[in-house]
């Protein structure tokens, strides 16, 4: 397991499936709900966040020996905010439509838990190349999940896919789009269902693994983890439980001990 863990392909793929930020770690829920009314918005948001994630991992990994430990969080936030400003200016100039539909959620990438979380848990103490790969993998996983949620919401809520109308839905047809999926409640419901499906698939996958591997270290964020985290949330230090989601903190803590 040790040599596998250090390999680049492992760091890349873990962000997409095993530690998918949206569906398994439950980080960055705000954009997942707000900008997924269409598949294109979801992908746009995902790519924007991927850019910031890769760049912030790169910069923070380069500066990891220079930034004093006590002021690291403010430094990270400043670095991330600057990157987001660069991104925002780029979008305003070249993709004004996307910038308009994502609205305040572009500047809000600054406080997205995924980016600060990866900086703190990974780029903080790993070399440059592997940090970039980690950011890329997490970004691709985030984008894929946003694309899935956005597609379902767009097909059900607006009767179109990537802004192309689906035949036999809407207009004079009997089949009409289900408007509620394009509204805020639909965002909550579809995201909840997606996590449930991902839990189900994960549980099926984990059931086939040997029992001794079913611990936190090998499968962070598995369904068993959520249960454990929920149970512990009552007793655990409130500071750890607060603000972040159930699956996220055990992982961060575990990485720190490495």
């Amino acid at each position: 397991m040790a040599d596998k863990k250090s390999s680049l392909s492992y760091e890349f793929t873990k962000g997409i499936i095993k530690e998918n930020p949206l569906l398994v770690l439950l980080l960055g829920t705000c954009p997942a709900l707000a900008v997924t009314t269409s598949a294109w918005d979801g992908v746009g948001m995902g790519l924007a966040a991927t850019f910031v994630l890769v760049m912030s991992n790169l910069v923070i990994s380069l500066l990891r020996n220079i930034i004093p430990d006590r002021v690291r969080i403010p430094s990270y936030i400043t670095i991330i905010a600057s990157l987001v400003t660069i991104l925002q200016l780029f979008l305003q100039a070249y993709l004004p439509d996307l910038n308009k539909s994502l609205g305040i959620f572009i500047p809000l990438i600054t406080v997205n838990c995924i980016i600060l979380g990866r900086a703190e848990a990974f780029a903080n103490k790993k070399p440059v190349l592997i940090s970039i790969i980690d950011g890329l993998g997490m970004g691709v996983g985030f984008t894929a999940a946003l694309f899935l949620i956005g597609s379902v919401r767009e097909i059900l809520g607006s009767g179109s896919f990537f802004n192309i109308a689906i035949p036999f839905i809407g207009g004079d047809n009997v089949l009409q789009p289900i408007l509620i999926f394009a509204l805020p409640p639909g965002g909550f419901a579809i995201y909840g269902l997606m996590i449930a499906i991902s839990n189900k698939l994960n549980a099926r996958f984990y059931a086939r693994q040997p029992a001794e591997l079913m611990d936190h270290e090998h499968y962070p964020g598995s369904i068993y983890d959520h249960h454990q985290a929920l149970l512990e949330a009552e007793t655990r230090d409130t500071l750890i439980a607060a603000g972040q989601l159930d699956g996220a903190f055990p992982l961060v803590k575990e990485k720190k001990e490495e």
Binding site: L26, L27, T29, C30, L33, A34, P74, I77, T78, A81, S82, V84, T85, Q88, L89, I104, P107, L108, T110, V111, N112, C113, L116, I180, L183, P184, P185, G186, G187, F188, A189, Y191, G192, L193, I195, A196, N199, K200, A203, I223, H226, H227, L230, A233, E234, T238, L239, A241, A242, G243, Q244, L245, D246
Partner: protein, 197 residues
């Protein structure tokens, strides 16, 4: 006066910050398992929201706009929020020790709560005046508290329900949030009748 009331009721009921604008969903899902924690967090959010509104709006209007530095708003705002939180924490710790005990531990977490930065950006986007920003910030804090308070009750009920294993926890909470969110849509007609479109 009508404008102020409209801003207040719209942000509390119709555009509920958590359930319609999706700001602060992380802490909403993370904290609503416990009434005491969620209320402590809510009071801290109201507090920081009003104070940061009072600071960021003048900074934007009198410092960034005259110097054509509007593009720096994200960096400036996040730094203002972070330092406001630090200063507030120190002041409360010194002056009101009981209050610090109640909400002190939540204060540092608020820096990365997207609700705060989000509302600061909305204040600028809607070009609210100083007083309107204060009202919007306060209303957003109250609407956060309202959503938290309602949802603690929902989750208490959910804890007793027999839910399939892979739905337990966050997925079920999200589906329940969808239903609570539908009810907030119902205020649309009420507010339109009172304040006009």
């Amino acid at each position: 006066m009508i404008d102020i009331a409209k801003i207040l009721f719209t942000v509390i009921l119709l555009n509920n910050i958590v359930l319609s604008q999706f700001l602060g969903v992380c802490s909403f899902l993370g904290l609503t398992t416990d009434l005491k924690n969620s209320m402590g967090m809510s009071f801290a959010v109201i507090f920081v929201m009003v104070v940061s509104s009072a600071i960021t709006q003048p900074i934007f209007q009198y410092l960034l706009v005259p110097n054509n530095l509007e593009y720096l708003q994200t960096v400036v705002f996040i730094l203002v929020i972070a330092s406001a939180v630090q200063i507030l924490e120190a002041i409360i710790k010194k002056v009101f020790p009981p209050l610090y005990k109640g909400m002190g531990i939540y204060l540092p977490l608020i820096t990365t709560n997207c609700a705060i930065l989000g509302i600061m950006l909305v204040n600028i986007q809607e070009s609210y005046t100083f007083f309107e920003s204060l009202v919007n910030g306060f209303g957003a804090g109250v609407s956060y508290m309202l959503a938290m308070f309602l949802f603690v009750g929902v989750r208490k009920k959910m804890a007793q329900a027999n839910i399939p294993a892979f739905f337990e926890g966050v997925p079920a909470a999200l589906v329940a949030a969808a239903i609570v969110s539908v009810s907030f849509n119902g205020f649309k007609g009420v507010l339109e009748n009172i304040f006009g479109r």
